[in-house]
């Protein structure tokens, strides 16, 4: 099967065309245009990407299998955890969000739940202490801000 390379090649040609078109729409720089304007290099790139993607469509490599079913779900779960971690880092604070994120990841990767969340909590507390006291870099405390010593 050679769908992967072909699909990717088509997507990249679309990108190359859109990117190249975007380059032609760039305004001329202040002070008049020169031999190499802001659009020259991008246009060059879009041609290179277009041609090399075309090659991928014409001469694709055999596919690597995608992890459908359960592993695929696990991967989506992992990405969701990472996005949530980023989103909750400030509101929940570093220690709580790290406990949840690292704990859940460890658990999903096969650790026993209790040990997973303990690892998460321990790593969160250690890194927080190291950063706030040894490196003088304030990580957000969030919900735990009542613990703050001032």
């Amino acid at each position: 099967m050679t769908y992967n390379d072909r699909t990717f090649g088509i997507l990249m040609i679309v990108l190359a065309v859109a990117y190249g078109w975007g380059a032609t729409q760039l305004p001329a720089p202040f002070g008049g245009s020169e031999a190499v304007g802001p659009e020259t290099f991008p246009l060059l790139l879009s041609v290179v990407l277009g041609l090399s993607s075309l090659y991928m469509i014409v001469r694709p490599d055999p596919d690597n299998a995608w992890p459908w079913s359960r592993t695929g779900v696990e991967l989506v779960v992992a990405v969701v955890i990472l996005v949530l971690y980023a989103a909750l880092l400030q509101p929940l604070g570093f220690i709580l969000s790290t406990t949840l994120a690292v704990g859940t990841l460890c658990w999903r990767m096969g650790s026993a739940p209790v040990r997973a969340y303990l690892t998460g909590a321990a790593s969160g507390v250690v890194v927080f202490l190291v950063f706030n006291f040894a490196l003088d870099l304030a990580l957000p405390l969030g919900l735990l801000s009542f613990l703050e010593v001032s």
């Binding site: 202040f30 879009s46 460890c106 690892t119």
Partner: protein, 508 residues
């Protein structure tokens, strides 16, 4: 003898107590990174870059620490090759051949010690080579004009896949994508490109975010897919009984391996895996029937290890003198230099002589430190091999998050990093190499600047790009870099596969 003076100054920098401490820390962390499963050298150095910023280290200290990490990771990679027959990184593949049989014969400690000594000799030979060659190359590079630089960047991309690379066209795709990402932001004529009015994109995409995302996050996703969360069985290492005659026995092999490795490291497109491969096969030829290669010959451990470490020091030559890295990890080191506002290239040798020679001296000192660390502490590193990835990788991911967050204190960067991680996973699935993407991100602005200068000089005539003999030579080599893999690539790959008996893992 000017070089010697600079080198002594360099030692002055490297032996400053703070720098020495960070070199030691880097060497230790590097060996750890090399030994731990799922943390390649490029990945490890990338994660540590934001931390070096957070510490507020001066340029030369940060560079010394991360160079030590780089050297250390090359040491660490051999531990799992010898004990588990699983190469920690691609260049360590050849070490498995005789290292693992030695471990099976209950000589694991000897194999580890021999490889440490060989690594040391290989690095030492190559560092001396670096000291001799780098200033010469830097002087030569001063004659380069913008057109030559433009061609040189092309050469770097074309040879990045290496002549053993599978599909050079995918390298081109990857490089184009990286260069495209680099054009996002306000360019140096003041025009906004591809920012879509998003304020965070005005300054462009920080390549550190991209690097950490592409390496660290995609690694996590790969481990989840392969369900490789469980740890390896605990390893026992016998008591070391190594005599001087054993070391004398491997000295010639190590010296030969180091020289070959250095040459392979300096040449574009060869790289550390080819260095260790050539080192091993040549050693087998020289020793001939007297050896018992493949059945636990110490010389079969020494030669590829020396080659591998020689190549990794050799790879620093083009990075430092031309600003053109030849491997993934040196690309990451280049990222560090650029973010420290140091423009690598020939001028660095005059403008930032303290940094360059400090790093070179630190490489020498680092090798001594590594040798001292590695022989007595090997037990600790062996224990670390059995840390299960299911705990390790989430914690590493968390450290990546903290590092990126600490750059700008915004969550916007974190989303970006996750997005790069997902992209990195997809690329790796499609066997599109990640290193050209990163190199594109790093070299994009410089490449465009040189194109602009060349065209300004040539008054808009494209012919100016291949106007000099040197430029033409570089173009020819770049073309060969793309075509040769189709011709000799399959042969070399087959021979490497026959020798190792495996396909070997991807990546660097």
């Amino acid at each position: 003898m000017e070089t010697l003076g600079f080198l002594i100054d360099g030692f002055g920098v490297a032996l400053a107590p703070q720098n020495l401490m960070f070199a030691l820390l880097g060497a230790f962390l590097g060996t750890l990174i090399g030994a731990l499963p799922g943390l390649g050298p490029a990945n490890g150095v990338a994660i540590l870059i934001p931390l070096a910023f957070t510490l507020g280290l001066p340029a030369e200290t940060a560079m010394i620490m991360l160079t030590a990490v780089y050297a250390g990771a090359m040491y660490g990679g051999r531990i799992s090759s010898i004990l588990l027959n699983i190469p920690g990184d691609e260049p360590a593949m050849m070490t498995c051949l005789d290292g693992y049989p030695m471990a099976q014969q209950g000589k694991a400690a000897e194999a580890l010690a021999i490889s440490a000594v060989a690594s040391f000799i290989g690095s030492l030979v190559a560092t001396i080579g670096l000291i001799l060659l780098a200033p010469l190359l830097a002087d030569f590079a001063l004659t380069f004009g913008p057109a030559e630089y433009f061609a040189l960047f092309l050469l770097a991309f074309a040879t990045l896949g290496g002549i053993t690379g599978k599909n050079p066209m995918k390298t081109v795709v990857a490089a184009a994508i990286g260069l495209m990402i680099a054009t996002v932001g306000i360019d140096n004529t003041g025009v906004q490109r591809y920012t879509f009015g998003v304020l965070e994109l005005y300054e462009g995409i920080d390549f550190i975010i991209a690097i950490v995302g592409l390496f660290a996050i995609s690694e996590l996703l790969f481990f989840i897919e392969e369900k490789a969360g469980g740890g390896k069985a605990k390893m026992m290492v016998n008591k070391l009984t190594l005599s001087w005659s054993d070391i004398r026995n491997i000295l010639p092999s190590s010296l030969r391996g180091g020289v070959l490795g250095f040459i392979a490291g300096v040449l574009p497109g060869a790289g550390a895996s080819l260095g260790s491969f050539i080192g091993y096969t040549l050693e087998k030829k020289i020793v001939g029937k007297k050896g018992y290669f493949g059945k636990g010959d110490p010389r079969g451990v020494a030669a590829p290890e020396a080659g591998n470490n020689g190549a990794s020091s050799g790879a620093l030559v083009p990075m430092l003198t031309l600003g053109v890295p030849g491997s993934g990890t040196t690309a990451v080191l280049l990222a560090l230099l650029i973010s420290l506002n140091i423009t690598p290239g020939p001028l660095m040798f005059t403008q930032h002589a303290d940094v360059v020679w400090g790093v070179i001296a630190a490489l020498l000192i680092g090798n001594f430190l590594l040798l001292v660390l590695n022989i007595p502490l090997v037990g600790i590193f062996v224990k670390l091999l059995s840390v299960p990835p299911m705990y390790l990788l989430p914690v590493v991911t968390m450290i990546a998050f903290v590092g990126i967050y600490s750059i700008s204190n915004t969550t916007f960067d974190l989303y970006f990093m996750v997005a790069f991680g997902v992209a990195g996973y997809l690329f790796r699935k499609l066997e599109i190499p990640l290193v050209p993407v990163i190199l594109g991100l790093l070299l994009g602005p410089e490449m465009e600047k040189n194109l602009r200068h060349a065209m300004d000089i040539g008054d808009g005539n494209w012919m100016v790009l291949w106007d000099s003999g040197l430029a033409i030579g570089l173009w020819v080599f770049a073309g060969m870099g793309l075509i040769l893999p189709y011709i000799v690539g399959p042969i070399l790959r087959r021979r490497m596969r026959v020798t190792t008996g495996t396909g070997g893992p991807e990546g660097d």
